[in-house]
Amino acid sequence: MSLEIFWMQLFSGVSYTAILLLMSLGLAIVFGLMGVINMAHGELMALGAYVTFMVANVFLKIFPDSIDIYILFAIPAAFLVTFFFGMFLEWAVVRWFYNRPLDTLLATWGLSLILQQTYRTVFGPQEVTIPLASWLDGAIEPFTGVQLPLNRIFIIVLTLLVAIGVYLLFFKTRMGLQVRAITQNRAISETVGINTRKVDMYTFALGSGLAGIAGSVFTMIGSTNPGTGQLYIVDTFIVVVFGGVASIMGTALSSFIIAQLQTTFEFMTTSSYAKVLLMLIVVIILYFRPNGLFSPKVRS
């Protein structure tokens, strides 16, 4: 393998890591910290993508001159819309299912079907695409023969920022402390005066908001259709389970491992065999470490 190919492979692995991490951070929070299986997570990503699509269209119609910066508005908009929608979902559906994980799985699956059909009715069944901003179109060439696309670099930087933000939120703020306390022991947290209802609601909303950001970023590398969310949901769950639930660091490392394996296998075989090989490896590793790679050592 020549050096150029090596660098390109590594880069595509890293950029895939960023995408996987962005997708699974929200899920790691909702599933890992709250123990809620949210099968509609993919549809929340699709919602973020559709919000981005609408923001881009607003820019096209009203401020055609500044279309290049729409993404800077679309990402916060996607975050806010999915954040509040997540809050609504938690209030309307999810809170009735705490402590019934299997029922949560089925109920949120039902929710995801309803959302999919809603997107299909509102936006039509065909794919929507958004033109890439001109300053993200292109690539930098650090060495001859090695091209790094700008939009991928943007995604990597954004993911880093989001991951650092989530880290700070969970380990340096009062709310983060409360969430971690609830994760460790819900009953005792309640006894010491944490409003677990409120924290649950905000945690779920935050997880949804992160899904919205992921969806928004997705529009830069692919098109969106009503079924987009369903394509990614299983991969996202695998990343979280593989990394070890309740461990955000684990999710980050597992995104990296899965992304590198996937891109390497894809390079060596076809993409469908890559997926099968990857799944086999994940199952084998999960067999030896049923709680994921980086599970914290606590008594359950």
Binding site: D103, L106, G110, L111, L113, I238, V241, S271, V283
Partner: protein, 349 residues
């Protein structure tokens, strides 16, 4: 004979449902019969889910895999018979020159039947036994099986030449020289299948009302206590799931007989989760509810897709929410007509 199994009310309901299904082909136009057959092929799957999920608490989202094993085995056999001595048409299109080795044994009907009935056990039992031994359970098991059924779809689509890819396998003509596509043959098959379904329903009902069924309920409710009492719960769970997988595989084979096609979408992750709703809607611990719900949901699907194509997913999504939020015992809990006994009453004791 266990007392629950001999209960009169169950047998009365059993007779009502199967008489209704028996009369259906008589009172409806013959072109509907294959559709009824298709709906009822999911009843086999639902029976398995009642056993493994309703009674044993294992929510496998990989039932589509086993549905696919049954369906693809029979489809391969029928395809070989339909196209022999030539190669199946889709192989020619993907320029496969020689019949793949894995296809060779499917010239024999006996091998195909063994595949449908035994292969699910050979695959499911060792794998799930190992997994359950490691005490992977609950949602982790569900997600793992969901991932596996997704992988299978990817694999089938990826190997176009051997499986027909995304288009699946279709265009069958005869089974051992018997024209399976004609109306008359399909009506005859419908009655055969109904007999088989009745036998399966009685077997499952026997299983869940026997001592073994009591152990399953105990595992579902407090697995650790059953383990402390000296039972090998992993073995019991794996065996239960294997039975459930065989039922799914039979359902798959029936599906191919009545629809004349199988595609990867029908065995994938989405289809696998959809199969759960049949059991959940009927009542997850109700054997007869599962049969009835598989038929009812299938019928509703056709009716709704004809009338309002937009409505089906809303309806299905709503159904998932309904059966989890307000009707955890499904139709059986609603009417009290079907079987509902073990679930709640054992909790109350």
């Amino acid at each position: 004979m266990p007392k629950d199994f001999l209960r009169k009310s169950w047998w009365v309901n059993f007779a009502i449902i199967f008489c209704f299904l028996l009369l259906l082909p008589v009172i409806s136009p013959s072109f509907r019969v294959p559709l009824y057959g298709k709906y009822l092929s999911f009843a086999f799957v639902a029976l398995g889910i009642v056993l493994s999920w309703g009674y044993c608490g294992i929510l496998s989202l990989g039932q589509g895999i086993f549905f696919g094993i049954g369906a693809y085995s029979l489809a391969m056999f029928l395809k070989l018979e339909a196209s022999s001595p030539e190669l199946p048409d889709f192989m020619v299109w993907s320029s496969v020159e020689q019949l793949p080795l894995a296809w060779e044994p499917f010239h024999s009907l006996a091998f195909t039947l063994i595949c449908i009935l035994v292969l699910p056990v050979l695959l499911a039992f060792p794998f799930t036994y190992m997994i359950f031994k490691k005490r992977v359970s609950g949602v982790y098991f569900s997600i793992l099986t969901l991932a596996l059924s997704l992988t299978l779809t990817v694999l089938i689509i990826g190997s176009q030449g051997g499986t027909g890819g995304a288009n699946g396998i279709t265009d069958f003509s005869t089974l051992q020289g018997w024209d399976v596509a004609s109306d008359e043959a399909r009506i005859r098959m419908y009655f055969l299948m109904l007999g088989l379904l009745a036998v399966c329903a009685v077997i499952v009902q026997y299983l869940v009302s026997s001592r073994y069924g009591k152990v399953l309920i105990a595992i579902r409710d407090r697995e650790d206590r059953v383990r402390f009492s000296g039972y090998d719960t992993a073995w019991i769970k794996a065996a239960t799931l294997s039975v459930s997988c065989v039922l799914a595989s039979i359902g798959g084979a029936m599906f191919v007989l009545f629809t004349g096609l199988i595609t990867p979408q029908l065995v994938g992750a989405v289809a696998s989760v959809e199969m759960i709703v049949y059991a959940a809607f009927g009542g997850r611990t109700s054997v007869l509810g599962a049969v009835f719900a598989a038929f009812a949901v299938g019928w509703l699907k056709s009716a709704l897709s004809e009338e309002f194509p937009q409505g089906w997913l809303f309806f299905l999504g709503g159904l998932f929410l309904l059966v989890t939020a307000v009707l955890p015992q499904g139709l059986a809990g609603l009417t009290g007509l079907f079987e509902r006994k073990p679930a709640n009453e054992s909790d109350a004791k």
